[in-house]
């Protein structure tokens, strides 16, 4: 029996279980109510229905999931005991190639064999697959019936089916939320492990403080010394994400927040705020090719025209400017929130002293909102240094340690992409370096986020 068929059958059984359990619970409830006691009936009939249906479905579903993993091994075991398997070559690689092909043909995934030796094993394979398929289906159905029957016999008017169903709902939700946490822990674990392997090949001191980054030379056998100095990458990341992008994003974001909260009429605000937030919804790859194809060539031409002939077509400036534009909505919406959170009485107090609106904003509102604004900027920085697409497309790969914004620099994220794309061997220092870079990036953004959230939270408490 095929997988979809058995699932359909189980679903049908579940539906039947639900309907019949509900009907039985209704009858029992009627009888119990006749006794006149208020607590004679505990759960609504629907809960009894769900209780029995879940008992029918869940054990069978768990069994099928386990069986799907166990059955292939059993099938292979049986095929290997078949007389036709005696002629298989002793070499493990050739064996598994033939077995794999035979299985694919038997399962209908492949039409004909490359290796004629496979043909002999097709029949044993299909026999075994059918056999274990039937066994699995029968066992699943037995489990479904057993579970359903057990639950069905427990239905009584005062049986607490609702409590049990609710508990299952809670457990499901808990598992869903744990899944995200477990995944995060898994990612961190793998980062730590691979980084550990990297640092057993390259000293952390050389990695964190070395000034020369040339993983290719290490891969070509010139040794790991001096090849993995990540300072140029850190500098490039900071130069683009924390300096150039912020020079664009902080003033523009702050000024737009001030305009929207202090000057704009409600109608203007109603239109402009969503429009500004649309910027945050533009896919970063779109920003990326905008930076690479439009801004970067224009900047190079500009630089050449003012006499900077060393200007690269993949400049730090192009990537940083576009990234700054991308970040504007983050800064502006955080600043907007914090300025709006400054009590109206503060603003009135200043205006009543005869201060103009702009004096009030500069001398009272922004100082009062500063912690929130700083928090927003930190979050924006953490977002900017983790940003990948724009810098991959526009910033280039040359690990230059330079202050010239028209020169090409590279960033941590760009190098991670570079190290891990294409065919890679996963035990060389060159590949593992990507994980070490990822770990550094992870730690820095985590710290930035923690600091930013604490600053923002502390500030919120101050005015509430």
């Amino acid at each position: 029996m095929t997988g979809p068929a058995i699932l359909l059958l189980l679903a049908g059984l579940g539906a039947i279980a639900w309907v019949s359990a509900r009907a039985r619970a209704m009858r029992l409830a009627d009888v119990a109510r006749a006794t006149g006691r208020r607590d004679a009936v505990h759960s609504l009939p629907g809960y009894h229905g769900w209780y029995v249906a879940l008992w029918t479905l869940i054990p069978a579903a768990i069994f099928l999931a386990v069986w799907a993993n166990v059955a292939p091994g059993l099938v292979t075991q049986q095929v290997l005991h078949d007389p036709a398997a005696q002629s298989l070559p002793a070499d493990a690689f050739a064996r598994s190639a033939i077995l794999g092909e035979a299985r694919a043909i038997a399962a209908g995934d492949q039409a004909a064999a490359f290796n004629p030796a496979s043909n002999a094993l097709v029949d044993p394979y299909s026999d075994a697959i059918t056999k274990y398929g039937v066994i699995g289906a029968v066992l699943a159905l037995i489990l479904a019936f057993a579970g359903g029957a057990y639950a069905f016999t427990r239905i009584r008017a005062d049986f607490r089916a609702r409590t049990r169903v609710e508990r299952l709902v809670m457990a499901t939700l808990l598992v869903a939320s744990l899944l995200a946490i477990v995944t995060t822990l898994g990612i961190v674990g793998s980062l730590l492990w691979e980084s550990f392997r990297f640092f057993s090949m390259v000293s952390p001191i050389d990695f964190l403080f070395g000034l020369k980054w040339s993983p290719q030379s290490a891969a070509m056998g010139y040794g790991n010394d001096d090849a993995f100095g990540a300072v140029p990458l850190f500098w490039g990341t900071i130069f683009i994400g924390a300096i150039i992008a912020m020079i664009v994003a902080i003033p523009l974001g702050l000024m737009s927040a001030v305009y929207l909260t202090q000057y704009a009429s409600p109608t203007v605000r109603k239109w402009m705020k969503p429009l500004l937030e649309v910027l945050a919804g533009v896919p970063t790859v779109v920003y990326g090719y905008f930076a690479a194809l439009t801004i970067a060539p224009a900047l190079r031409d500009l630089a050449v025209s003012i006499g900077i002939h060393s200007a690269s077509s993949e400049s730090a400036l192009a990537a940083g400017l576009v990234m700054g534009v991308m970040i504007i909505p983050f800064v502006s919406s955080m600043a907007d929130d914090s300025i709006a959170a400054v009590p109206q009485s503060m603003r009135d107090g200043s205006l009543a002293m005869g201060a103009t609106t702009s004096e009030t904003i500069r001398k009272v509102m922004i100082p009062a909102a500063l912690p929130g604004v700083v928090g927003g900027v930190l979050l924006a920085v953490s977002r900017a240094i983790g940003e990948t697409m724009i810098v991959v497309m526009a910033a280039g790969l040359a690990a230059n340690l330079t202050l010239n914004p028209f020169a090409s620099v590279t960033t941590v994220t760009t190098q991670i992409v570079q190290l891990l794309t294409g065919d890679q061997e996963f035990d060389s220092a060159k590949t593992l370096a990507a994980f070490a870079l990822g770990l550094v990036l992870f730690i820095v953004t985590l710290l930035l986020n923690i600091v930013a959230l604490r600053v923002v939270k502390k500030y919120r408490e101050a005015y509430e």
């Binding site: 009485s345 503060m346 009135d348 009543a352 002293m353 001398k363 009062a368």
Partner: protein, 262 residues
């Protein structure tokens, strides 16, 4: 002229309001109010919540300008000059007519900077020494100097509620206003802090024209010479404070003062 007429229509009024109406959109919040403010007497506005007394107070230094839908009709003058005339600079006006709010609202700056804020934005002091003098003088007049002279660099928000309110009064005094508007200045304070503010109002009287909004009738009786009773946007009764409280002419005033509503 009787004493009463002299008090209610002083010969040299600092500010006058004639038939002032305030509209929020189409709603008429203030319905034709006329009063005078002079330097020697304190004017109190009393009335139940929502009667328009704070709204009217805010027309006197054009703080209602910050509310987009508010519109003012009638004439308000300061030294005979119409404050709603196009030639009137609202920044100058607010420097001359200061305001103290219901809830103490010191800026999140040091005590010194709170007082220095106004003089700085109006360019009243050119040197640090001048500013120091203004700060000390203002804090002395606000009755706060002795309590804070050793910690001028502490944050203004760290003071107690009553001290914060006196700081706000000192802040208003620092720009040398001619009139000070007080919008329920004691409603967020305890009785001792309230007594100090009331004492301060007595000391400031004569030097500044003072208008105080209060929902506390004893306070109005204690600090003011003239009282205006507002109800539903109307100026119901305007008279000498002692008369209003002992011998109200209007039925509504009497009901309010005897605590029948409000």
């Amino acid at each position: 002229m009787t004493e009463e007429q002299k008090l209610l229509s002083p010969a040299d009024p600092k500010m006058t309001a004639r038939d002032v109406k305030v509209f929020y959109g189409v709603k008429e919040a203030i319905k034709g109010v006329s009063i005078d403010v002079d330097m020697d007497n304190v004017t109190a506005f009393i009335g139940p919540s929502g009667c328009g007394k704070s709204t009217f107070l805010r027309t006197l230094n054009r703080m209602n300008d910050t509310v987009a839908s508010a519109r003012v009709e009638g004439t308000i003058t300061l030294d005979g000059e119409d404050i709603y005339a196009p030639s009137m600079d609202v920044v100058q006006l607010r420097a001359r007519v200061g305001m103290v709010f219901q809830k103490p609202n010191p800026f999140p700056k040091s005590i010194y900077e709170n007082i220095a804020y106004g003089p700085r934005i109006h360019g009243l002091a050119s040197a640090k020494a001048d500013l120091d003098v203004i700060v000390e003088k203002s804090l002395r007049r606000a009755g706060l100097w002795d309590e804070v002279k050793d910690r001028l660099n502490d944050s203004g928000t760290a003071l107690s509620g009553g001290q914060q309110q006196r700081l706000c009064i000192g802040r208003a005094i620092a720009v040398e206003p001619e009139v000070i508007l007080m919008d329920e200045p004691c409603s967020a304070l305890d009785p001792i802090a309230t007594a100090k503010i009331e004492e301060l109002i007595h000391e400031l009287r004569g030097r500044y024209g003072i208008v105080i909004v209060t929902h506390n009738m004893q306070q109005a009786a204690r600090v003011s010479q003239r009282t205006a009773f507002f109800h539903l946007g109307e100026l119901v009764e305007y008279g000498v404070t002692s008369d209003i409280f002992t011998n109200p002419r209007q039925e509504r005033t009497k009901d309010y003062i005897t605590g029948r509503y409000g």
